[in-house]
Symmetry: C2
Subunit: 323 residues, 2 copies
């Protein structure tokens, strides 16, 4: 896993993934007490950065292997990213989703061309289902973060951040990344280490689901006791990945945490000041920039908005924080 893989992924993504800009607002600068630059991956195809990793992984497969189709486990953004990347490569995707996943996400994943297989979380083992299907049909498993080509794809976000930061002359800046399994964080860290090495890449997690923070503090992989019960569901995983953690340990930190209320409030500011729709987990880094400013060192901060796939009712809840 190295920078050359990220540059190669960028070449494969060119013309297929969106090259997102850095946005800003003087109102956000005032709240944060420093310049705030926002990388809006909610504007990426399928509404999250996950399309980059999915495209990178699909496009790196041997054509004969790819033609047999791919499979992924996901109830959320990775599902949609893989579905669209597969459809645009004219191949099949099978997405294994829990039967109690939100209907909208199931419908969207199907509409993007995937074959969705629902399973009962309580009585079925998704890994068994996946292994059986893969064996029968020769499908290739696309993991959500512990896959080198997925990390390389997410890292293209970091190449763009580094390029824009260099053009803006930003050197003493913190790069805050919404962090689940660490695919986006480790990819951005590798890219910045190569192209903008004075930037500090820092994971942001929900309070109580800070496996990466504790793993970085102790130097060994730590786990979360729960993996549900927080609105920032898109960035909650049991533990950092075997591939992503060593990269984060070498290049990232210290991590930050934010509350659910902070995430909702940051979503409201993204609405009001940037005209962007962020999902709770996707607003975590912006929340840290706005409401954890004493934990940030740089004269500027660059934050990812990693996704915008949020239900209308939850978005309305975020808007209520403005009252």
């Amino acid at each position: 896993m190295n920078i050359d893989m990220i540059r190669a992924a960028a070449t494969r993504l060119h013309g297929f993934a969106r090259r997102t800009p850095l946005l800003s607002s003087p109102f956000l600068d005032d709240i944060a007490g420093r310049r705030v630059y926002v990388k809006p991956e909610c504007l990426q195809h399928t509404g999250s950065f996950k399309f980059r990793g999915a495209w990178s992984a699909l496009s790196a497969l041997d054509p004969d292997v790819r033609a047999r189709g791919v499979i992924a486990f996901s109830s959320g953004n990775h599902a949609q990213g893989v579905a669209l990347a597969a459809a645009r490569h004219n191949t099949t995707s099978v997405i294994i989703m829990p039967a109690d996943a939100p209907q909208l996400k199931i419908d969207n994943t199907r509409a993007l061309g995937a074959e969705v297989i629902l399973y009962d979380r309580d009585h079925e083992d998704r890994d068994d289902i996946g292994a059986r299907l893969s064996a029968q049909r020769g499908l290739t498993l696309i993991k959500p973060f512990d896959n080198e080509q997925v990390i390389a794809g997410q890292g293209t976000t970091g190449l763009e951040i580094a390029q824009d930061a260099n053009e803006l002359g930003l050197q003493n800046a913190d790069v805050l990344v919404c962090c689940g399994g660490g695919g986006l964080t480790s990819g951005i860290a590798l890219a910045c280490d190569a192209d903008a090495p004075t930037l500090r890449v820092r994971p942001v997690e929900p309070e109580g689901f800070d496996d990466v923070k504790r793993s970085l503090e102790t130097g060994t992989i730590q786990t979360n006791t729960h993996t549900s019960g927080n609105i920032c569901d898109a960035i909650i995983t049991p533990q950092p990945g075997d591939l992503t953690f060593p990269i984060m340990k070498r290049l990232c930190g210290p991590a930050l945490t934010i509350s659910e209320q902070d995430a909702l409030h940051a979503m409201a500011h993204a609405f009001l000041r940037l005209k962007l729709v962020a999902e709770p987990g996707g607003a975590a880094a912006l929340a840290a920039a706005l409401f954890r400013k004493h934990d940030i060192k740089g004269d500027a901060v660059i934050v990812t908005i990693s996704g915008g796939n949020v239900d209308p009712a939850q978005f309305a809840q975020a808007l209520d924080t403005l009252r």
Copy 2:
């Protein structure tokens, strides 16, 4: 008024206004029955395209004239555009706003550096106030659309649309523009006429406030009987401008109209599929693309989202259309 003025404005705006992309979603294509490309000017500084015209006008002033300050009448997007453009030119802006304008807009305009003067709509004449202040302080009036440099600034949106349409190979496409006084519509029409002449530029207005539609049909300037009472307030003006109408008459049409419910529904789709915040008037063109598809001729449609300055309560109302 010609294309050279728009190209000159583009040079002055370079590095100061945002170069917005064209966004798309397969879900919108399905509803519209053709490819839909969205020009998200809600992502422009101050949340609307108005910043382009304001910057163009301010940057075109003689430096001595500009140093004495500018004045504008507006309760909305033009106010914020002029305020920020003036602040970044290190000069004063005086914005005359009705005392009953939304507090958020008054606060924002002040926060962007303007001196806000409130007047009583029922008992004071804003033109008198403006004339007195201009005479006393040597302020230059920046009109919202009937100003050649303002039209040139809005026209830079059209240069970008034409460039992207040419790169995408779009020839048989309708360009739908949210239309009030016609500054954005006429500017885009001039730019497309020069750089992408097979595109059809078509104004979109709220039903019952279709002065431009009737003016284009009759060939002479028609007026609206009312100028309030519709949620698309940002694109309602008494009549097309003396400068903008001849351009629209030569290059645009036929116009389209949409209902308030269509506008709210289009806002909800922009939220769901593009992760963008549109205001009702800013969603008018998208509404026409989605819900007036039989009135559109092209195999593709390019729509402006002209602004995103919407109150949370009204946005929640738009989300309710998804239930």
